[in-house]
């Protein structure tokens, strides 16, 4: 019960925040929350399940395009379109996962990279259905009970998505499933010997996180009320990877820290280096891998451990 109260308080604070922000800042804030959501799922896939897959943003795109095509182009009622888009993501993720997770080493990375690139080709060449290079623009959510879900009001939807994703992943992380994922990541033979069905664990982890990315995509579709292929290109998934490695790979808190920092960095750096902020990402990423493998959350852990060790001694002195 206290956990539920805690979650509700977080939802309330995060959803209320944009009412105190200017409209542009509110927009930045909403997109930041979406990046955090994506980073959480990717952190589970890459850090905990140990799969180097580059298709996360592709599923984000499939979710976004899926719902818009179903609802706006084909006229399916919105709730059904949302369910339909999630189903499309889940089925596609499963279809990709079953052969792809059997691949060893970097072949999974290549297969998912090819899948992501193929999606961009399909989106840009899709003609009427996907709106080609310009994408699909100018649609808007209908009013629900007379309330238009736009701007600050829409933030509540994103916050629910974010907190929901976090709740699912943090429970899974600490469950039998999370431990099985870590075991399969660290030593698949040993995990199999302990009775973990490695192939199945991998497929489930991939399908689940990709479907969560798809759900985030559905929410994204109504943030700008427009989708275009360029929003889902290959480079985005590298940024996502940098976020979780810099924040701390395999730790959900690390994903949050990394996503917030890297998402906001360009706004701070803009006056100094213009649009070349990936340069800074790259340098921090390189430094993180060379010197601080656990990322920023590792630094935080180190500090906390030192204090935890120091405290009893100081109490001794006081006595």
């Amino acid at each position: 019960m206290p956990r539920l109260v805690y979650y509700l308080a977080v939802i309330a604070v995060l959803a209320a925040l944009p009412f105190f922000l200017a409209s542009y800042q509110g927009d930045v804030y909403r997109k930041m929350l979406l990046w955090v959501t994506l980073a959480l799922g990717y952190s589970f896939l890459f850090g905990i399940a140990g799969q180097v897959a580059f298709s996360h943003f592709a599923f984000y795109g499939i979710g976004a395009y899926g719902v818009v095509i179903l609802w706006f182009k084909l006229g399916v009622p919105l709730p059904l379109a949302v369910i339909g888009a999630i189903a499309v993501c889940a089925v596609l993720a499963l279809v990709v996962a079953i052969p792809a997770t059997r691949l060893e080493g970097f072949y999974l990375a290549l297969a998912t990279l090819a899948f992501a690139q193929l999606l961009i080709v399909v989106l840009t060449e899709g003609g009427e259905v996907t709106g080609a290079a310009a994408g699909i623009q100018r649609y808007a959510l209908p009013a629900i009970f007379g309330v238009r879900l736009t701007g600050p009001y829409y933030t509540a939807v994103i916050v629910l998505l974010l907190v929901g994703t976090y709740a699912i992943l943090s429970r899974l992380e600490r469950s039998w499933f999370g431990r099985a994922c870590r075991a399969a990541r660290d030593n698949s033979e040993a995990a199999a010997a302990m009775g973990v069905d490695v192939a199945r664990i991998k497929v489930i982890a991939f399908t689940l996180t990709s479907t969560l990315a798809g759900a985030a995509g559905i929410v994204y579709a109504f943030v700008d009320n427009g989708v275009a292929p360029t929003s889902f290109d290959i480079d985005k998934v590298f940024t996502l990877l940098f976020m979780i490695v810099i924040g701390g790979s395999g730790r959900l808190a690390g994903a949050v820290v990394g996503a917030v920092l890297l998402y906001l960095a360009p706004f701070v750096l803009e006056p100094y280096i213009g649009h070349h902020h990936p340069l800074v990402y790259g340098c921090i990423m390189l430094a993180a891998i060379l010197f601080q493998r656990e990322g920023l959350i590792g630094v935080f852990d180190g500090v906390r451990r030192r204090f935890a060790r120091a405290r009893p001694r100081s109490m001794e002195l006081a006595a």
Partner: protein, 293 residues
């Protein structure tokens, strides 16, 4: 008919470029197991080095080619020194250098983009652009130049692996790293050499495409994608596989673009489909690695 033959020349030339990029991946993967996605950016660096030597300083091609190769050898060696060696020394898992190289990819692209700006930079053709005919085959001299240069590189690579002690050392490391180290092979030196040679190959690919496409800071991504598709189709085991994979991909792509009744943009998806197909059906590629003897 002559239309088809001309298409074959063009496709062979692009296949050669894909093959060179695939060879670059292969040179690094074979002894180290590290896939370096920065290969596309190395090709960009090669193209810009070519722009610097050929357009800015106006050196002749005979001087510029060794110049570009020298610059690329240096870049490859420096990359290995910064992003790979410290991690290998520390005994980090194989994913660590791959991530570090991804960081290098972004750093390199942004440095090039920042230095030169977002424009396209013209690089002169070595032999102009009149039409050349060799028997029934016709095409631009650049295409024939690309094919000849690539064949020379692959011949050199073949000679290196089959006929020199260094090539044998490479193979030994590829087959069993630990046993090779126990036999007194200096693994660090092999790795450094692999990265330097890989960079030189990718840089040459950049140099060869730069007259036709101009040097541009984002030119690397498609080359990197085509290159690893070619690598998977041909197989990571053998040098010839890289060239074979590149040729198959380019032929499939250009024949689809020319003759298949679908929008030409979809042809860009053909190599990707082939890649996925090969990963599912035959992940070892067309040519298998030789067994240890």
């Amino acid at each position: 008919m002559s239309d088809l033959l001309d298409l074959l020349v063009t496709a062979t030339a692009s296949g050669c470029i894909y093959g060179l990029v695939a060879l670059s991946y292969l040179l690094m993967i074979r002894p180290t197991g590290i896939i370096n996605f920065a290969v596309g950016e190395w090709a960009t660096a090669g193209a810009f080095a070519a722009f610097a030597f050929l357009t800015l300083v106006e050196l002749p091609y005979v001087v510029a080619i060794p110049g570009v190769v020298a610059v690329m050898l240096l870049i490859g060696w420096a990359t290995e020194l910064v992003a790979v060696r410290p991690l290998v020394v520390k005994g980090a898992p194989i994913i660590a250098p791959i991530l570090a190289l991804l960081a290098m990819l972004v750093i390199m692209r942004e440095v090039i983009g920042w230095t030169f700006g977002p424009d396209q930079f013209r690089v002169p053709y070595p032999f102009g652009f009149r039409r050349v005919e060799l028997g029934p085959l016709g095409g631009s001299p650049q295409n024939f130049f690309i094919i000849a240069a690539t064949l020379a590189v692959f011949a050199a690579a073949w000679f290196f692996f089959e006929r020199t002690v260094w090539g044998r050392i490479f193979e030994a490391v590829a087959i069993n790293r630990r046993a090779a180290a126990l036999m007194g092979i200096n693994l660090a030196r092999v790795t450094a050499f692999a990265f330097a040679a890989g960079a030189a190959c990718a840089g040459l690919a950049g140099l060869l495409v730069s007259p036709s496409f101009s040097a541009h800071w984002l030119m690397g991504v498609p080359l990197a994608v085509q290159g690893f598709s070619a690598l998977v189709v041909g197989g990571v085991g053998r040098v010839e596989g890289a060239l074979l994979g590149g040729l198959i991909l380019a032929l499939a792509e250009q024949l689809t673009q020319r003759y298949a009744p679908i929008p030409s943009g979809y042809a860009a998806g053909v190599p990707l489909l082939l890649l996925i197909l090969f990963l599912m059906v035959r992940p070892t590629g067309l040519l298998k690695a030789r067994e240890a003897r």
